[in-house]
Subunit: 235 residues, 2 copies
Amino acid sequence: MHLLLISNSTMAGEPFLEYSKDEIARFLSGRQNIVFIPYAAVTFSFDDFEAKVNRRFRDFGLSVKSIHRFENQVEAVETADAIVVGGGNTWNLVRHLHQNGLIEPVRRCVKAGTPYVGWSAGANVACPTMQTTNDMPVVDPLGFDTFGLVPFQINPHYTDRQIEGHGGETREERILEYLAANPKSTVVGLREGCMLNVEGGHVRYVGKNNLRLFINGRQPIEIEPDEDFDFLLKF
Amino acid sequence: MHLLLISNSTMAGEPFLEYSKDEIARFLSGRQNIVFIPYAAVTFSFDDFEAKVNRRFRDFGLSVKSIHRFENQVEAVETADAIVVGGGNTWNLVRHLHQNGLIEPVRRCVKAGTPYVGWSAGANVACPTMQTTNDMPVVDPLGFDTFGLVPFQINPHYTDRQIEGHGGETREERILEYLAANPKSTVVGLREGCMLNVEGGHVRYVGKNNLRLFINGRQPIEIEPDEDFDFLLKF
């Protein structure tokens, strides 16, 4: 498998897909027929999302075609040279994936070798379920199951911080609730500016901040960028 | 109807149910048989949640019995002098409400006059759906529908602030996504330290901060504490 799972598209104050640009350009280098999945968009159109990605991908010498413009979306997945899944609202993304019957075809093709890039919601859906999303459930997702390309859960935009004086749960508290309800699951807190590159059975970590790993019944574990991340595929 | 819908149980640095204590004590004054719904608890037990509420309610001369200790939970609702729904994880709360067949009985009894107090998740579920929750979907709720005691949606713990340098969506952006997907809905951003007291067709607002109202296709509206809130029941 070839996966590039990115925490967030945009760092505060930076252009769209800036910190990840070298990784994306290298990962997709030479790919012609790149299919883009724009279904995480809610307050803007799928056409607009495709155009935004293409404006940025032009800088990398790449272009995408959005899956919503194919008559046969499953065939679009099956014939793609690469699949790119954008961020936004995970609930809307998963609903459209289910409605269009795309979960199983994407899983099968990526497991058979089609490269997969996802950021934010697009990284979340590479996991077994969407349940470590941060997003508001604006639509019924028609099931929580997602691509299951990796055996662990990603919480994108992971943050240690809390708005000062705010009484709501911290991100860590939310993940600990998830683990209490799903004790066999493992959650990767993927801080902004960080990504995981899976190639075969190896995981390369790109980012300046640690990854924070949550396993039920254990204290959260901080893993530094230069450590070995291959063990993540053993969960 | 008699409703007391509270944004949050605990202000940062204050004891549990501190800012709302006078309202709760007055609202439930003289009620003997108060049934508590503890199902938003995930990382602690329903027994512990009941005990925590009783320790606090003792200060008000009140006590509750948790619904998980009744053999017939529907009968517990039907014979209650008041219903109190605690906060925590909205998904776990709604799952247990559905599993125990409590949505319709609570709706019916509260519409017939049983007083209802809810904070955080307990305020959220007084609305038509749980979809304006901030919580992580740690379990399948078995449906998004909730009590529908008011015609609008509450977003509890509403905040204008964002963690500095964080690239995730603001709360307002999340609510605007909800409205884009559910354009007929109206969302009340209920800031911490604020509550709504519904008595018959009248709404009293208690809190120092404005309420922020979201209607699809309009700019968000700030409503000051001394304005008339009865219009909220017209949506």
